[in-house]
């Protein structure tokens, strides 16, 4: 039972990472791509870690995985926020044409 649940969570996580990866390449501008990338390292990594937590089978390892999960849960959205804010502050706007990610945040 736990094996099926853990595998399902892992599979769901991998699918999320895949979808996020496709989005990273297909979306038109920096902010859309950031949205997709942050899904990979928050939801994708979170689901994979949750699956590992279910499959770990030992309290010590489960605790460590849970700690990593908690860190990622707080740090990944923060990173995405910092990136978006930095991009906005350095003059990158969604509606401005030609503000693609290839120019980067620097002027």
């Amino acid at each position: 039972m736990t094996e099926i649940l853990g595998s399902l969570l892992l599979l769901l996580g991998v699918l999320t990472v895949l979808v996020g990866g496709v989005g990273l390449f297909r979306f038109p501008d920096f902010f859309c791509r950031l949205h997709s990338a942050s899904i990979v390292d928050t939801l994708g990594a979170g689901l994979v870690l949750l699956g590992m937590l279910v499959l770990s089978g030992s309290v010590v390892i489960a605790f460590k995985v849970a700690m990593i999960g908690a860190l990622i849960f707080f740090l990944s959205p923060m990173t995405a926020h910092a990136l978006a804010r930095a991009a906005l502050r350095s003059g990158m706007h969604r509606d401005k044409p030609g503000s693609g990610p290839s120019t980067g945040g620097m002027k």
Binding site: L71, F74, H81, A82, A86, G104
Partner: protein, 327 residues
């Protein structure tokens, strides 16, 4: 099978990032690419079961060295064209050295070859007898701290010397006022960002706790003084980044940091000398306790403390030196 796929993928990533580093002309991209390189390398180390090295690579390569570089690069230095191929002479030289290095690897034993010279001789004794002789499960720590204690003392002295050299070379900013352009060269708003501040300030105690865990758990799992030192240093530096180096200096003054650098080496050396006084060789911990393994435990604990102190203080001291201009 999955390891081979991961290895090949990571090595391809390393090659791509290295090529990008060669071609980039922008200091900012260079720092960010070096960080990516370090993280990929760190993952490779984890796959090779060298978790101790991976710790250090992640904390120093991707963390502290990037922070130090950010302290010295300026937005004015960003070139108009971010990427261009290096000159043909540089490419030729690089290719030439690369071919020589590849030729050099032909003589090396195959990856994972159990008959390789490194896996004969002493390695067998370390793996077979270190638990009886030293009494701690992590063979890496046994070899590093006890069998090769003298080499490790040398490494700590190297880190100490490097820290002292940077202290000597730093410009003396006390004479003149700091230039206004020196402060917060990149994105000052990022440091005042409330979300970053709220989350990261609460992470610092966790980082310090993790550093202490790595320090004292080094006998049983991957870790030890070097890794704990860089993690602790990174935690302290994070506070400096969130407020300012000046405020950090008010909590941990640079005098104490410099003292800590020297104190770590002193502790290490004194443990060695204590062995001499108790009638054994320099850095032989067996005589420090009632039994051989108890003595080894105590000696390893003390020298790892010395290593951790020197490494963490050197990291913070480097940060202070590079942040001199900030007021």
């Amino acid at each position: 099978m999955i390891n081979v796929v991961a290895d090949v993928g990571l090595l391809c990533l390393l090659l791509t990032v290295a090529l990008a580093i060669v071609c980039t002309r922008s200091p900012l991209s260079l720092v960010l690419l070096s960080g990516i390189y370090s993280i990929a390398l760190c993952t490779l180390f984890v796959i090779l079961d060298a978790v101790d090295v991976a710790f250090t690579e992640a904390a120093v390569g991707a963390g502290i060295s990037a922070i130090l570089f950010f302290a010295v690069i300026r937005p004015e230095d960003e070139p108009v064209t971010a990427f261009s191929w290096p000159s043909s002479r540089a490419i030729l030289l690089g290719l030439g050295v690369g071919v020589l290095l590849l030729a050099g690897t032909l003589d090396m034993p195959m990856y994972g070859d159990h008959l390789a010279p490194a896996h004969q001789h002493l390695a067998l004794r370390f793996l077979g007898q270190s638990f009886e002789e030293i009494g701690i499960p992590n063979v890496v720590t046994s070899v590093l701290a006890s069998y090769r204690g003298y080499d490790t003392l040398g490494e700590v002295v190297v880190i100490f010397t490097a820290g002292v050299a940077v202290l000597i070379l730093q410009p003396d900013n006390k004479k003149g006022p700091a230039k206004p352009g020196d402060r917060d060269r990149f994105a000052p708003e990022l440091m005042g960002n409330p979300v970053l501040k709220t989350v990261l300030l609460r992470m610092i105690p966790l980082v310090v706790l993790f550093g202490l865990y790595v320090q004292f758990h080094g006998d049983y799992g991957p870790g030890g003084g070097f890794q704990a030192g860089v993690i602790l240093g990174a935690g302290v530096i994070t506070y400096g980044l969130l407020s300012s180096a000046t405020r950090l200096k008010r909590i941990i003054s640079d005098k104490w940091v410099t003292l800590g650098m020297a104190l770590g080496v002193l502790v290490y050396g004194l443990v060695g000398v204590a062995g001499l006084f108790l009638g054994a060789n320099f850095l032989d911990y067996s005589v420090l306790g009632p039994t051989q393994t108890a003595g080894q435990h105590l000696g390893i604990l003390l020298i790892e403390l010395g290593v951790g102190l020197t490494v963490s203080c050197t990291m913070v001291s480097l940060y202070y030196c590079f942040k001199q201009g900030e007021s």
